[in-house]
């Protein structure tokens, strides 16, 4: 076992240990874990002028620790809205969103910000790296915001794992789309979030880069036990997940719970 794999194993063990510590309801014998993320009858209604437009209409979803879940559905079905609500970027209008045991719907904006900082990593279709910073500082930014100190060991492990060690001094404009997305994934996981929410991470990539990014996400899930929820339009990409949720008209129509 090489040092990187050892680090990965250690991370999985510590994560499981952490889950065990935080959730006394875990049962060892039956392997029944509490969901890391659970939504109960979640509604999200946007008001455009005088008209209420429901983007989510009573979504019930469970995501278990260590799962890789894909979400599919036509444009405008509420996939991105659901991801935003799950990650605390948007507040649900009704219902309950439990993230690692914390109910996001009863939290203040500031409290959701803190929770997001420590438990959620976002990956976006357009990478969303800060153009003024090089790859190194884009990744370190997440640790800086977390304000518990820069962890060079963790940084090195993540950079090696994502194969971007040689590109750290480059700015986003000097990198390919695939490289930028790998930096974005590194930024998402460097602070050891409980869950990574990826919004069409391969939407702006060519086939080869898409495959590389999907393999990377699969490997993070497999090797580090990283819980991942990924939105995609592509059935082949969705197949990388353990489970595929299908959404239509603001509802999850298939795959909402673990069987």
């Amino acid at each position: 076992m090489n040092p990187l794999q050892m680090d990965a194993s250690h991370a999985v063990e510590s994560r499981l240990e952490s889950n065990h510590t935080n959730h006394s309801r875990l049962s060892h014998g039956g392997q029944r874990l509490e969901p890391i993320l659970k939504t109960e009858n979640v509604w999200k209604i946007y008001r455009t002028g005088k008209v209420d437009v429901p983007a989510l209409r009573g979504v019930d979803v469970e995501i278990m620790p260590g799962e890789f879940v894909s979400i599919m559905g036509p444009s405008g079905c509420g996939k991105s809205t659901m991801l935003h609500v799950m990650g605390g970027l948007a507040q649900a209008t009704r219902g309950k969103v439990l993230l690692d045991g914390n109910d996001l719907t009863t939290m203040t904006d500031a409290a959701r910000t803190v929770l997001r900082r420590h438990k959620v990593g976002f990956v976006f279709q357009r990478f969303n790296l800060l153009p003024t910073l090089d790859a190194y500082h884009n990744i370190a930014l997440a640790q800086h915001i977390r304000a518990d100190g820069f962890d060079p060991h963790r940084f090195e492990v993540v950079a090696n794992l994502l194969g971007i060690s040689g590109r750290l001094k480059h700015k986003p404009s000097e990198m390919s789309g695939g490289e930028q997305q790998r930096v974005a994934i590194a930024r998402a996981i460097v602070s050891e979030p409980k869950i990574v929410l990826a919004d069409e991470p391969t939407g702006n990539l060519d086939t080869k880069s898409s495959e590389a990014v999907l393999n990377l996400l699969a490997s993070l899930n497999k090797d580090l036990g990283q819980t991942i929820v990924m939105i995609t339009h592509n059935p082949e990409a969705a197949a990388y997940g353990h489970r595929v949720l299908h959404m239509r008209d603001g509802l999850v129509v298939d795959g909402a719970t673990v069987h």
């Binding site: 935003h84 990650g87 970027l89 948007a90 500031a110 910000t113 803190v114 997001r116 900082r117 420590h118 959620v120 976002f122 976006f124 969303n128 790296l129 800060l130 153009p131 003024t132 910073l133 500082h137 930014l141 997440a142 915001i145 977390r146 930024r187």
Partner: protein, 362 residues
């Protein structure tokens, strides 16, 4: 990240820094010019060598701003006071042609008795009605030569001598000539008194007060310390208005610069919020960038101030611009304070952006 952001738009950064630099320069130069004029004037008044100065009631210590003359006969009464060695009446006129200067109309004999006399670089004392003495600084700056005609106060004078600077004014003419020109016959603007011993100033002041109860009687020891903007009505207000204009420039430029920055970086703000950046964190970033811009502007402004002073002094050698560490410090506080005020709304706006809307901003 702060420095990278600032350097990302070099032209905008340059213009913002330049605006702050102009703000700082304006503050330091305006204050330096007014206090320089006061300091120079006070130094020259002290340089007359008198112990006491007598002026009409309610006269300003800035003699160039006081036109009210007194009967010259007062000089005779003052001369008779105990301990008074000499009294020199002086009529003062303000010349605004070819620069701002005050002209002393003097009686050479009494002025010599009080001041100890001029040190001549060239020429001789005032003899004829159209004679004029110029000090060496004036002669050098205006390239005035002995014997030439000098047009002052709408009158052609003959340059009779060039004297060492520091005796009240830079230009001296005979008092009767100046009285004639200004229609102030038998009048004087100020009486300089020389005591027989300098430690008797207080006693002489009391005597003069008794003789001229409502007149302004000022010992000239430590006269420079009186020369502050607060002793001249309106000067403080003028300085404050100029500082206000400077602050407004800095405020508006920083406001505009940071506002456009925030609009341009909407998506980045969304990214920061998705990473868990708090409102305070985003405000700190905007404010830190502002402070960096302001500090660069202050540094540039200080450099620009010294450059401006060098240019001014080269063009107007008689001008004194006092640049003091105190006012450099105040200009720094004014620039940074105004900048932070200007950035506060954009920072607040940035911190309150909805992360989902910000992330979808094109």
């Amino acid at each position: 990240m702060i420095s990278q952001n600032v350097l990302h738009r070099p032209l905008r950064t340059f213009i913002t820094v330049l605006a702050v630099a102009v703000e700082v320069t304006l503050v330091i130069i305006v204050v330096g010019l007014t206090s320089g004029l006061m300091f120079e004037s006070a130094k020259r008044t002290e340089g007359v060598g008198a112990d006491i100065m007598v002026q009409p009631p309610s006269a300003s210590i800035y003699m160039q701003f006081s036109g009210a003359p007194m009967p010259i006969a007062i000089a005779g009464k003052l001369s008779q006071l105990q301990y008074v060695q000499a009294v020199a009446p002086v009529l003062i006129q303000f010349n605004s042609v070819n620069g701002l200067e005050i002209v002393y109309g003097i009686d050479p004999e009494t002025f010599r008795a009080v001041s100890g006399g001029f040190v001549f670089h060239d020429g001789h004392d005032l003899q004829n009605p159209n004679d004029i003495l110029v000090d060496d600084v004036y002669a050098k700056s205006k390239k005035v030569k002995l014997g030439q005609t000098l047009h002052v106060l709408e009158h052609d004078f003959h340059v009779a001598g060039v004297v060492e600077h520091g005796k009240g004014a830079r230009l001296f003419v005979l008092m009767p000539t100046l009285q004639e020109m200004s229609g102030a016959h038998d009048k004087a603007s100020v009486f300089y008194i020389k005591n027989d011993r300098s430690d008797r100033t207080a006693a002489v002041v009391d005597e003069v007060r008794e003789l001229l109860p409502r007149y302004e009687i000022r010992p000239l020891k430590d006269f420079i310390s009186l020369m502050t903007s607060s002793t001249l009505p309106g000067l403080n207000a003028f300085i404050n208005v100029m500082i206000g204009i400077a602050v407004a420039i800095g405020f508006l430029v920083i406001f505009l610069s940071m506002y456009t920055t925030i609009i341009e970086r909407t998506r980045e703000i969304g990214v920061l919020k998705s990473l868990g950046a708090s409102k305070g964190y985003i405000v700190r970033i905007v404010m830190s960038e502002t402070v960096l811009l302001c500090l660069a502007g202050v540094a540039g402004g200080i450099g620009l101030t010294y450059l401006m002073r060098a240019i001014f002094v080269r063009i107007f050698p008689t001008l004194t611009i006092l640049i003091t560490p105190g006012w450099i410090g105040r200009a720094l506080v004014i620039a940074v304070g105004g900048g932070l005020l200007g950035a506060s709304y954009p920072a607040w706006l940035a911190s309150r952006k909805d992360p989902v809307e910000a992330l979808s901003y094109e």
